[in-house]
Symmetry: C2
Subunit: 107 residues, 2 copies
DNA sequence: CCCAATATCTTGTCAGCCGATATATTATGG
DNA sequence: CCATAATATATCGGCTGACAAGATATTGGG
């Protein structure tokens, strides 16, 4: 799973959001570190929808602007959970090795 | 940082290794989950060397076969540490949200 | 003698990120 | 009144990078 896809799924965990709302939520939940590009976002959403990790939820017209909402599917939630576990494992293996290096010095 | 690059750096934390040895070490430290492709490996090594995150260490001829060793630079160790922290943060934010979802149900 | 394993590297293809652009509405401000 | 920014959608093209495949070379086993 690519990193933009990971963040899109994460942004959809609590409630359905529309594209622009996802971009803002990702920026918020990453403390401004990740700014999802608009050209990236819609491509990612298409691919996630094709894989049924997200699904169209509803459309709203608010203040004359169309909002197309997506929600996380059960399959998407499982995929995100698996990816989170994988990332945590990767981070841990690197951190452990680095710690051993500081303790013992480079070989 | 790409995931293959992350694993290459991790494999080099404890000691300098040559390309083929890196590939085997990555497979070992990921419990077989990540099998670094040979075409990927050398491209990644070139890019990491260009960025000075790894550096050529030495060359050995062992049993008629050339071994070109790379080592992690200090800059590479710092970059790996930062990336590990970032990955851990990403994994944690996703996990926390998923946990809240199970507890409170989808909104 | 051929094949597998060890070891390097190159080339070509495909996926995907992202900047740029297009379109439309509402609010703000000069 | 018009320009600009924010909100909101979507598409297109360029570039980077992952990976499969193949070239090259040595050693050892069947």
């Amino acid at each position: 799973m690519t990193e933009p896809a990971f963040f899109v799924l994460t942004a959809l965990v609590d409630e359905p959001r529309h594209g622009y709302g996802i971009a803002r939520e990702v920026e918020k939940l990453s403390d401004g570190r990740v700014q999802l590009k608009i050209g990236t976002l819609y491509g990612v959403l298409d691919r996630l929808a094709a894989d049924e990790l997200v699904a169209p939820d509803r459309e709203e017209v608010q203040q004359g602007r169309l909002r197309r909402y997506y929600r996380l599917t059960d399959s998407g939630a499982r995929a995100l959970e698996a990816e989170a576990v994988r990332l945590a494992a990767n981070a841990r293996s690197a951190s452990e090795r680095l710690q051993a290096r500081h303790a013992g010095g480079a070989a």
